[in-house]
């Protein structure tokens, strides 16, 4: 056991910290409006140019071949500096790992660098009106067009985050109508400008058009944009879902930074802050620390090759998702309680707390509701019967 970072890692942290201090923009506003999305892409282009967009990727695709530890250090510093959440994250954190694992060389070369730079922005097309928690209920279909060398997609995708602003969509479609549930699905990559695709923005809880519905009517996708084998999309997608639920999307830096800001808020609001609130704040702070160290345990095991890729590893990511998503709600609830009558403001300096609260409420819902995650923990970690 060695819980220190190496001199090289410390040096990397210092370098990142200095660069971020000099470069992190202030007041970009929400990235989930059309204008805000453009402003955020500019900032992410700056990150890319400094080779900080995807530090753990190969240099060929715009990364630095950084270790997972360096990636975690980068993330801690990124949030510590108050830098904004990434509007390119669904591509970088959810699609890219799948492309690295299942993509052809041609796909990697064509897509990854453009994704990292923000030239291509990727939205996720998982959910459908009747396929939410029950993702295997996907009904949107892909019909083979042999003559054109590809597929024709039809149907409807919902809750597509930033779908109104992105250039591309990745998602699952039913390519074998006779197969049931998890079978006969194919993973497609799709340009949203393709004829037959209509995108309708949907306003999220916080008033931003952060969701979209995507309607597809015979939209053509060439064979080159199938990820993995046809009809085997479920297995391909589960790798991505694992990423969404687990380590990569929710780096501990975000919660630690929120917890640290909560401590500052507590000190500022000291008039109203009694010990009952202090006790809750300490609990939340401890949980943020626990999440950090738990991530280090997970990364250690991944790097040591212990239980990586096993079923229990997927179930472990369910424990992680339960923990961070509830922690995030708790951190923000506490902030609102500290703000008292100012909590409801969506203008002025305290507004980010309410926005953060609203955002936190999506955590226990998306990427598999926490109810589903608890089932997974009970069944796969504890071995309770599925019924």
């Amino acid at each position: 056991m060695d819980l220190g970072f190496s001199p090289a890692e410390h040096a990397f942290r210092a370098e990142v910290r200095a660069w971020l201090e000099a470069n992190v923009p202030r007041d970009l506003g929400s990235g989930d409006t059309r204008d805000g999305f453009a402003r955020h892409l500019e900032w992410e282009r700056t990150l890319f140019d400094a080779r900080y967009a995807v530090v753990s990727w190969p240099e060929a695709y715009g990364g630095r071949d950084a270790s997972l530890w360096e990636w975690l250090i980068f993330e801690e510093e990124y949030y510590r500096a108050g830098a904004p959440q990434r509007v390119t994250q669904n591509g970088i954190f959810l699609l890219a790992p799948t492309i690295f694992e299942f993509g052809t060389q041609e796909q990697k070369d064509r897509i990854l660098r453009r994704m990292a730079s923000g030239e291509q922005t990727w939205a996720q097309g998982w959910s459908e009106p009747n396929a939410g928690s029950d993702l295997a209920g996907i009904a949107s279909r892909a019909v083979r067009d042999e003559a054109a060398g590809g597929w024709r997609l039809s149907g409807q995708k919902t809750w597509t985050t930033r779908g109104a602003f992105c250039t591309h969509l990745f998602g699952l479609f039913r390519s074998d109508p006779d197969a049931e549930r998890h079978h006969g699905l194919t993973y497609f990559l799709l340009e949203l400008s393709t004829p037959g695709v209509t995108v309708r923005p949907v306003e999220r809880l916080d008033g931003d058009e952060g969701f979209a519905e995507v309607f597809l009517d015979d939209a053509f996708v060439p064979d080159a944009d199938v990820l993995g084998e046809p009809n085997e999309g479920w297995g391909v997608a589960m790798a991505t879902t694992g990423s969404e639920r687990g380590l990569t999307l929710r780096s501990p830096g975000r919660f630690l930074a929120t917890a640290a800001r909560l401590v500052e808020l507590f000190e500022e609001q000291a008039v109203d802050a009694d010990d009952a609130l202090r006790d809750r704040m300490v609990s939340a702070y401890i949980d943020a620390e626990a999440y950090r160290w738990q991530t280090f345990v997970t990364v250690t095991r991944m790097l040591d090759g212990r239980d990586a890729g096993s079923e229990s590893s997927g179930a472990h990511s369910s424990m992680v998702k339960l923990f961070w998503s509830e922690l995030d709600v708790r951190l923000h609830e506490l902030a609102l309680d500290l703000l008292g009558p100012h909590a409801e403001l969506v203008d002025g300096p305290t507004a980010p707390w309410m926005k953060g609260y609203e955002f936190s409420l999506s955590g226990p819902i998306y990427a598999g509701t926490n109810e589903i995650q608890r089932n997974v923990v009970a069944e796969r970690v504890l071995g309770l019967p599925r019924r």
């Binding site: 999220r204 809880l205 609130l277 008292g340 203008d347 109810e371």
Partner: protein, 335 residues
């Protein structure tokens, strides 16, 4: 001992419910998010005609001479409809304050003037920019100022139907209404009014969610048949049941000037806030992504509950107030 409302009280509640069902549906609330009026058009005059605004004024002042017990049933309906107008501030706070203080302006209010109010614990009022009067507290006294005499700085609330602003005004002996006792009573009336609204909000969020989970199917069955969903909603239902009882009990205490009134009001506000917040969380979670959009109605009620829970005293503030009288309460309750 008889702890229930009478048929007249339920009948009046039902009449107001019918009015609000008709005039203050979700579309009307959405209208208040975007209009410049800050009101549901035409609704205030209807409420005035029905006597709701002047319920607590004596008949000699044009009111109905009713009590807080009558009013809380109505305010539950206001909550259940997310009524944007300042009904608590006007009917629950200002009317009895002006009446008890012998202030003639009570007649104007009974006849339809609106009153915005900044509670002694808060910095904001709703609808201060469009109200006829603003009620302010300072040094333990309540002050009523005509709107032209206040300056107002608007703010945006997460609940777009809450037209927030800070208010400043010259306060003096001449603006004061009544004495410190009446001001304290006015605060309790406001906190209790919000508690009643929270109960209505919780009830509405539960109803919306029950409807949804009975229809929505996943894994081949209604999601409402999953035990986790059932238990979320059962917990909310239980919390609501007991919160409502405390609200009704506090209203009775307020009407009868019982020594424990402040403690009872604080019990009601803290439990009603908790029930509403618990229900908001459960409701959103049981809806999933559809509840996370503004296209769905849930958010109209959820955001209101977030705001009310931190207005006129948070649950923690009210528990601190109960704490101050706890040792005495534990002894006296059965005297």
């Amino acid at each position: 001992m008889h702890f229930d409302f009478d048929d007249d009280q339920y009948a009046f509640r039902d009449a107001v419910r019918a009015l609000l069902d008709e005039r203050c549906g979700p579309d009307a609330v959405r209208g208040a998010w975007t209009s410049n009026e800050g009101h549901v058009p035409g609704l205030w005059s209807k409420l005035t005609e029905m006597g709701v605004i002047g319920m607590l004024a004596p008949e000699s002042a044009g009111g109905l001479g009713l009590s807080a017990v009558d009013l809380v049933l109505i305010l539950e309906e206001a909550g259940a409809h997310a009524l944007p107008d300042p009904l608590v501030e006007t009917a629950a706070v200002a009317v009895p304050l002006l009446a008890d203080a012998g202030d003639d302006r009570v007649r104007e209010v009974v006849d339809g003037a609106t009153v915005a109010a900044v509670s002694p614990l808060d910095d904001f009022a709703i609808n201060a920019d469009v109200a006829d009067y603003v009620l302010l507290f300072r040094d333990g006294l309540a002050h009523l100022v005509a709107r032209p005499d206040v300056s107002v700085v608007p703010h945006r609330s997460v609940d777009g139907a809450r037209r927030l602003s800070t208010v400043t005004a010259d306060l003096s002996d001449t603006t004061a209404v009544g004495n410190a006792g009446l001001a304290a009573r006015a605060f309790d009336a406001g906190a209790l009014g919000l508690a009643a609204e929270q109960c209505g909000l919780a009830q509405r969020m539960l109803a919306i969610t029950v409807d949804y989970v009975r229809e929505r199917r996943q894994f081949g069955v209604p999601v409402g048949s999953f035990q986790a969903v059932k238990h979320h909603l059962a917990n909310s239902r239980v919390a609501l049941e007991f919160a409502r009882t405390l609200v009704h009990r506090a209203a009775y205490s307020l009407d009868h000037d019982e020594p424990a009134t402040a403690a009872h009001v604080s019990m009601a506000k803290s439990k009603a806030d908790e029930a509403a917040l618990l229900t908001a969380r459960a409701a959103l979670q049981c809806h999933g992504a559809i509840g996370y959009t503004t296209e769905h109605d849930l958010h109209l009620f959820m955001k209101r509950s977030w705001a009310l829970a931190r207005s006129w005293g948070s649950p923690a503030w009210h528990r601190r107030r109960v704490a101050a009288s706890l040792a005495r309460l534990a002894q006296e309750e059965f005297a």
